[in-house]
Symmetry: C2
Subunit: 195 residues, 2 copies
Amino acid sequence: MARKQGSHAGITGPKVREAALRLFARHGYAAVSMRQIAGDVGVQAGALYLYTPDKQTLLFDLMKSHMEELLAAWEAADTGGTPLDRLEAFARFHIRYHLDRPDNIFIAYMELRNLEPDNFAKVEGLRDAYEARLIDILDAGQADGSFAVPDTRLAAKAAISMLNGVTTWFREGGRLDRAAVETLYWDMLRKSVSA
Amino acid sequence: MARKQGSHAGITGPKVREAALRLFARHGYAAVSMRQIAGDVGVQAGALYLYTPDKQTLLFDLMKSHMEELLAAWEAADTGGTPLDRLEAFARFHIRYHLDRPDNIFIAYMELRNLEPDNFAKVEGLRDAYEARLIDILDAGQADGSFAVPDTRLAAKAAISMLNGVTTWFREGGRLDRAAVETLYWDMLRKSVSA
DNA sequence: GTCTATATTCTGATAGAC
DNA sequence: GTCTATCAGAATATAGAC
């Protein structure tokens, strides 16, 4: 990365990232111009290039940061216990984390195809690492008989797809509140892997 | 729609739609230029405007057609029976239909944000109509005690999210074949709504 | 039914003033 | 650290020849 690291670490750098995240999530990477991002931040288009070498790197940095923070947050949230305990912790963590950051999950799952091959491979690796945490839990439950999951790799993908879906429809102040949604999803997930 | 209906109904019209579908699914609506579509079909960019009034209408027509065909196909596939029978039919139909048309579901769920408000409302209405078919099945099962689904609207969304996920990772000739995938997903869905 | 040519606007990115 | 000015190319869409 050719960005001048730290030397412009004022307030504008983070604002550029925030604006890019919001706009990419809302309209898609390809549909958003550097001028739009600049306008949102309140600077001219040329000024963006003080904070990122190019548009592609801006997207990649956002996705990479998101996945790394997601992984670190789960490591911190995983308190151990029985496979069932851990699966519940995972489900509730995943929903809560993503409802707090709807823009992040949007770009993490929808802009993969706009990454250049090298960047794609790196982000996909991080995503696989996160999925592997869930597979480990399912394997443990399958081994001790608390789950009946014939294919834990497929089940992990199915579970994450289901949980991710919540961000596409949940709206604050709607028919169901966060706690209710969290519990309803956990209830379905728990039963779906039950013995 | 200002397109000259039928008068150019040779072979190029369908080819334009096929190329647009494939390219939009692969790279995203905003990232694909009319020149790329034209190049893929083997005509010049200007010639596309004989088959569509503009790029936006091309996207909208693809999404609308897909949703209408999906609805009609399910109406034909729904053979009735117990709620459990119908849910199994729905799950297997949905997976099979979408694995046969990966490009369609890709744009149907990822390009909504690129539709203009009027077009968005129409496509969302069709999507809601499809979802309503699943809600009906869940309601019936909840009423006769064969399912335990406290919130059928949320459950329908969760189920469709889970089933849709299959298109993001399934590859022909991979570790699992279609029949195995279909059965594994159905098994999870069945348990997730079980009493 | 497709072509070439073109109008107009926008794109990502850079140079250099202040 | 942000500005203005600008480059070179690509975007959608149209006009009119054949």
